[in-house]
Amino acid sequence: MEHQKPHVFPNARKPGELLFAIIILVLALFLISQIGNQTTWLPRKGLAAQPRLWPLIGLGTMTLFGVLHLWRTSRNERTPGRWREAAIWLSSLEFVVWYLIYVASVPYAGYLLSTLVFCLFLTWRAGYRSARYFVIAALFALCVVLFFKTALNVKIPGGAIYEFLPDPARPFMLRYF
């Protein structure tokens, strides 16, 4: 393996850095333009007691340094690959979708079944197609449920699907899985 010194404080402009600087500055400018509508100025109150003061400080800092960050970034030498980098950022949205489907399914399918399906699906999606990985993923899902829901009793709702179970099994599954 090639010995490379770890990169601690970068100086050159990375692909997508200018794009990010522009996006965050636009966001800051939009938010600061809404300060009149979204915050209140109380008459006969001191500056420190004004509800508008701290959003203004936060957004003012964000805008001022956002401008300086953009100015500094634009002066650095460009590294090609801006849109390829943006595509990588956007590709994470796919996993956001799977994650939210997983969360949304818990109150219906129950924590055990949802976790099992999520782990197996994501293992397949991540490119691990051998039986060994599926077995490890299923065992991992089972351990997570047993540790957090069964042992630690973490607050996760029981699945609606458990209502179809016969009487002795229903409260058991609702409580532990």
Partner: protein, 502 residues
């Protein structure tokens, strides 16, 4: 002595010891996984400890916080990839030693130096505790405001080369802390008439999004990586004896860690760089630094592992976190109804001492665990990165969803996760956002309280500690401007000389 017995009775219970054991070993394991780290583990496990008793929940997470850096040295030395960011300097000398088949020696020294740093800092703090107990009551609203302001300035300025982006993200964090229903005049701020924003943006949701989910997404979107590990065999106990040869460096590095840890916003990086440059400057073989000099490993590991205990000082005494991990520990204390601040040192000194004893115990537990389990940890490092991403996403559900069983919280966390992906890809810092949220809330509250009793601006700094803090703020900013101007001037002069030479 009564306080000592009282603190021992707080910690000496089977569930607290078990939590400490699980936390310590868990911390080493997550620390040894490149790209996971303590922040991810604490973020995920924090809501899972809600149902536990405060001391049990706190010791479990304290275990992770205090032990992750031990584990982070393993991939830093063996595969040139720091397990946690603060192990970066360990790669400089650790990996070259592995390449010349001295991996076991490097690991052994790293464990011993970390252990020395950890124990040294805890002993310093136990000795300092009475002093702190007498100083802490002198911190009123204005002193805490100024200390928090100093903290956020230092957090920004220590991101050398990234100061603009760090300040911008700290501003974003301060803004996030203001969203929702404001508590004194009960007015809405930046809710855009959305009901879910009325209660504000939960720190834990942001933390899980920025640290855990973003890491999961990053691992899943990039190609799989797996590491080929070098063979490391033999015993690890020799490092403790070898450390005696480097006791001067270990002591200096640990002292640096204690001092840097106590100043909010400075932390591990500064202490490491100071001790590493000291070790290099005073070494008989400075040319070997970066090529596998054991002194470099000792300087780096003793310095970074002495910080966590010291960083608990501003956190416990003033409620001011210095970096993202202590910000998370602050959330840990709050959810378990332990309110850090001057009163804690005045009225619950036994609890503070119990935490130090827990830290001391975890260092002992971890060094014993590492002496016998390094081979096992090397197997953990073989988990493929995309599979690890899947595991992190699965764990993240517990962190966010168990808060309020809210799909909206998960969606907000996922949004911060995507934002975290961008920050990670661009190597921009995430800690200023977290500190902006925590310190922004604190500063707003304390400034409002302080200004109610202040008539002129000078009255704000007319108390000794407030004045010292104000002078420190002016000095820090002044010194930074001076160094920037000097660096620019030197750069310009060298450019002129180059032109004249040509």
């Amino acid at each position: 002595m009564d306080i000592l017995f009282s603190s021992l009775s707080i910690i000496a219970r089977p569930d607290a010891i078990l939590a400490l054991l699980v936390g310590s070993i868990g911390g080493v394991v997550v620390g040894s996984l490149p790209g996971v780290g303590a922040a991810v583990a604490i973020a995920i496990l924090l809501p899972a400890t809600f149902s536990l008793e405060p001391i049990v929940g706190i010791t479990a997470l304290l275990g992770i916080y205090g032990s992750s850096m031990f584990g982070g040295a393993i991939p830093a030395i063996l595969i040139n990839t720091p397990g946690t960011p603060v192990n970066a300097l360990t790669t400089y000398d650790g990996f070259p030693m592995t390449r010349r088949s001295e991996g076991r020696r490097a690991l052994s020294l790293a464990y011993s130096a970390s252990f020395f740093g950890g124990v040294f800092s805890i002993l310093c703090l136990i000795l300092l505790a009475p002093v702190l107990a007498s100083i802490a009551p002198m911190f009123g609203a204005r002193e805490i405001f100024l200390a928090a302001l100093l903290g956020i300035i230092l957090v920004t300025l220590t991101h050398r080369g990234q100061i603009m982006s760090a300040a911008m993200l700290a501003g974003f964090g301060i803004f996030l802390s203001t969203v929702g229903l404001e508590s004194t005049a009960l007015t809405q701020r930046y809710t855009f008439d959305l009901t879910f924003l009325a209660s504000g943006i939960d720190l834990i949701v942001v933390v899980i999004g920025l640290f855990a989910l973003s890491q999961g997404f990053v691992l899943l979107v990039r190609p799989d990586t797996s590491y080929s590990l070098p063979a490391v065999s033999g015993r690890f106990i020799q490092g403790l004896a070898e450390l005696l040869q480097f006791k001067r460096i270990a002591a200096f590095a640990s002292s640096c860690g204690v001092v840097c840890g106590m100043v909010p916003g400075v932390g591990e990086f500064m202490s490491q760089f100071l001790s590493y440059s000291y070790a290099q400057r005073t070494s008989k073989t400075p040319e070997l630094f970066g090529k596998g000099n054991p002194e470099g490993i000792v300087a780096s590991e003793a310095a970074n592992n002495s910080v966590p205990a010291a960083a608990m000082i501003p956190l416990l005494a003033l409620g001011i976190p210095g970096e993202e991990l202590t910000a998370m520990m602050l959330a840990v204390f709050y959810v378990h109804n332990v309110i850090p601040g001057p009163q804690l040192f005045q009225h619950q000194m036994d609890f503070v001492l119990a935490l130090y004893i827990a830290l001391l115990l975890l260092n002992v537990l971890v060094i014993i665990f590492l002496m016998f389990s390094t081979d096992l940890l090397m197997q953990v490092m073989r988990i493929p990165s995309r599979f690890l991403g899947m595991m992190i996403l699965t764990f993240s559900l517990i962190g966010v969803y168990s808060l309020r069983n809210s799909l909206t919280d998960c969606a907000v966390a996922a949004a911060f996760g995507v934002f975290g992906v961008i920050l990670r890809r661009l190597e921009l810092p995430t800690s200023p956002i977290i500190l902006g949220i925590v310190l922004g809330r604190l500063m707003e509250d304390k400034l409002r309280t302080a200004m109610a009793r202040v008539k002129t601006p000078f009255e704000f700094i007319d108390r000794p500690i407030a004045f010292i803090l104000f002078v420190m703020i002016v000095l820090v900013i002044g010194l930074h401007i001076y160094t920037v101007v000097r660096a620019r001037r030197q750069q310009r002069e060298s450019r002129t000389e180059t032109v004249l030479d040509a």
